[in-house]
């Protein structure tokens, strides 16, 4: 496998990891398990409701910056970054 293919594979692994988190916080915590999570509380918020209306959005933001940061590292590691 050449360098570009290895870089691509690392990229795909990173994207899948990030999208698993993306799916878990929104579709998982915010929709599928919302009733179970609502048994717990975060201040005045029921936890599932908080994920649906606040938490998932914060985590989305963090995820994109994490992805951008890791990709910049991968660009350097595989020596494919822009001049």
């Amino acid at each position: 496998m050449n360098n570009a293919q290895k870089y691509w594979q690392a990229n795909i692994r990173l994207v899948i990891g990030c999208l698993l988190v993306w799916f878990f916080v929104s579709f998982g915590c915010g929709i599928l398990f919302v009733n179970q999570l609502n048994a717990f509380r975060l201040g005045g918020y029921q936890l599932g409701f908080w994920f649906a209306q606040q938490g998932s959005i914060y985590i989305f933001v963090a995820l994109i910056f994490f992805y951008a940061w890791r990709m910049n590292q991968l660009d350097k590691k595989f020596n494919v970054e822009e001049a």
Binding site: G30, I31, G44, Q46, Q54, F60, I64, Y67, E82
Partner: protein, 624 residues
């Protein structure tokens, strides 16, 4: 002229002067600056412009109202319209920036080496963008007519003239800088009243925390608990609990996410940054700026609902003196009744207003009135009223002498606009909200018009019809196309086709079922060929259109609907607005099936795909 009007004129006029000044300062000189701002916009500023581009009149005006009335179920819009940015950042933006051209159809046409694919993409883009623009134009007209008390038509024409000047002159460069200013105006206008109201109710200045805090002077009762208790006592479902089916909420969220990532005017924004790595972080910055509004909206919605209920239900539920007297309605109610977006009817003649859930009695009565007026099935409508009335007679509300919900009309859209008035905030805050609503509508309209004009002048004219035109002529055509698009959008705004409100589902459905899958497979599936991509797009598009039209009527002519638009008829309970995700799935499936038994794409296309996957070698603005 009242004080409020003078303040509003001053604030709105000042923002307009600012937009025009920016437009004159940043005129586009070549096609690169016109289409993609010369690819020289800093990622943070680009993120801010993307935020203004994305947050339309719907985000600014409608979303908090949907939350106020829908409670938990409206979370689909919050997660859907933000989660799409993750898909954009990880699956599309950096690769499209590396590819380094001007438009979305250009990428699809080149990657699938097919003018047919490009044409399908152009059609999807124009239909999705145009339907979206109509809504913005209408929003501008409404904001003007409510706040400046100008006729709807005059307001719309002023709005068109402003967009015309800065979008036609400045192109993407002018639009980008104007959008940055518009973002500042709109976010300020949204958060300032929210902060005031949050302090009033909870003492906490951050609305995001205020929503989870205890009410002031309540000895530790949480705001959301109080709201839940109140709506349940009045017969509604609890604010924080789920009403719709899980499958439908799931698919609606998914459709909105995929649709967001596939909307061309948003994608184009990532062509304007200097580098591939900037495209990644710029999506993050865009979401930061969007999240400021989107995490405030739930607080605005819940607090507006609580304020509204407290205004009407002044005392104990069921007590004779527990409700607001008809004659004692505050000024803001009178103002909004004039617009027809708010309405009351004293059904039991006690001179007071009761706002509660009468389990469909009011809806059944409205149905009967409609049947009598327009000549529907009166017997069936009467039977429904009788059934609902019998049910209502057994409820505790009948025991109070209540005869049905008396707040007969409360439009979601008034929540944000009336909010400062409900909370009795100073005039300058109300003026600011007007300027913010107009900024949100203008910035989105400009972005969409730019996407439309570039696909006409660049994709249709330059690449298909008149291949030999030079840069200067193309720029001229771009400006003419933009002017034409503004006139058409203005015309449709003045004479909205009856379906203006429903087409949002269509715009997202198209973007989700056709554009997003095509681009994604173009990047991630090297083996995907033109036959697969075209069949996939057509299948996704066709199935989504068919499903929407089946329930809404062909071309939205209601009488041609094949089945009534309700949950009993929907396939697996999937509403037409949520079908985009299924359409996208069909697109993927068909594309893979067709490409597996047709020829692999030619060598140079496979090289192209390998090339866009690595950042190195991304040039500055390049043309063809």
């Amino acid at each position: 002229m009242s004080n409020l009007m003078i303040t509003t004129y001053l604030v709105v006029g000042a923002t307009f002067a600012l937009y025009l000044y920016i437009a004159l300062k940043s005129r586009a000189k070549n096609t690169g600056e016109f289409y993609v701002a010369g690819k020289g916009i800093h990622p943070v500023l680009n993120g801010m412009a993307t935020g203004a581009d994305w947050m339309s009149a719907a985000s600014f005006i409608s979303m908090a109202g949907m939350l106020a009335m829908g409670g938990y179920d409206a979370s689909a819009y919050l997660m859907g319209w933000t989660g799409g940015y993750c898909l954009l950042a990880m699956l599309l933006a950096p690769y499209l920036r590396k590819y380094g051209k001007f438009t979305v159809p250009e990428f699809i046409g080149d990657r699938f080496y097919s003018q047919t694919a490009r044409l399908v993409a152009i059609i999807c883009l124009i239909v999705a963008s145009l339907t979206y623009v109509i809504g913005q134009m209408k929003g501008i007209g409404v904001a003007f007519s409510r706040f400046l008390e100008l006729p709807f038509e005059v307001g719309l024409v002023i709005g068109m003239a402003i967009v015309f000047v800065y979008a036609v002159l400045g192109g993407m460069k002018g639009v980008t800088y104007t959008q940055i200013a518009q973002y500042v105006v709109l976010i300020f206008a949204y958060t300032v009243p929210a902060v005031f109201i949050s302090i009033q109710l909870t003492g906490n200045p951050l609305p995001q925390l205020g929503l989870g805090a205890t009410l002031s002077g309540s000895e530790g009762v949480y705001l959301l608990d109080k709201l839940d208790k109140m709506v349940v006592e009045l017969g509604f479902t609890a604010y924080t609990s789920q009403k719709g089916s899980t499958l439908d909420i799931f698919l609606l969220t998914m459709s909105l996410m995929i649709g967001t990532a596939g909307l061309p005017h948003v994608i184009t924004r990532f062509f304007t940054v200097p580098k591939v790595k900037d495209a990644r972080s710029s999506a993050g910055w865009a979401l930061v700026f969007i999240a400021i509004l989107y995490t405030t909206a739930p607080a605005v919605g819940a607090m507006a609902r609580l304020n509204l209920m407290n205004t009407v239900q002044t005392g104990e539920i069921g007590a004779p003196e527990g409700n607001l007297a008809m004659d004692a309605r505050p000024q803001w109610m009178h103002n909004w009744e004039k617009t027809g977006l708010l309405g009351f009817e004293d059904k039991n003649g006690d001179g007071k207003i009761q706002y509660y859930s009468d389990n469909g009695l009011s809806a059944a009565e409205a149905g009967l009135a409609k049947a009598l007026k327009e000549g529907g099935d009166v017997t069936a409508a009467q039977a429904k009223v009788d059934e609902a009335a019998a049910k209502h007679a057994e409820s505790k509300f009948a025991g109070f002498g209540w005869k049905g919900n008396e707040m007969t009309k409360v439009d979601n859209d008034i929540m944000v606009l009336a909010n400062p008035e409900i909370a009795r905030l100073p005039n300058w805050v109300i003026a600011l909200v007007a300027a913010g609503g107009i900024a949100a509508a203008l910035s989105t309209a400009a972005g969409l018009l730019l996407a439309i004009s570039s696909s006409i002048s660049h994709d249709l004219l330059k690449s298909m019809l008149a291949k030999n035109i030079d840069d200067k002529t193309e720029l001229l055509y771009g400006r003419i196309a933009m002017g034409g698009a503004i006139l058409l959008a203005g015309y449709l705004g003045l004479n909205p086709p009856g379906f203006a409100a429903q087409v949002v589902a269509l715009a997202f459905g198209l973007a989700a079922s056709s554009i997003f899958p095509a681009i994604m497979m173009g990047i991630f599936v090297k083996r995907m060929n033109s036959a697969g991509a075209i069949c996939g797009m057509l299948a996704g598009l066709g199935s989504t259109l068919l499903y929407i039209f089946w329930f809404k009527g062909f071309m939205f002519i209601a009488s041609t609907a094949m089945a009534p638009d309700n949950a009993a008829n929907w396939l697996f309970g999937i509403s037409p607005g949520s079908f985009g995700a299924v359409g996208a799935l069909i697109n993927f499936a068909v594309a893979f099936a067709v490409s597996s038994f047709t020829k692999a794409p030619p060598e140079h296309i496979q090289h192209l795909v390998e090339d866009i996957r690595v950042p190195r070698g991304a040039g500055a603005a390049q043309d063809h």
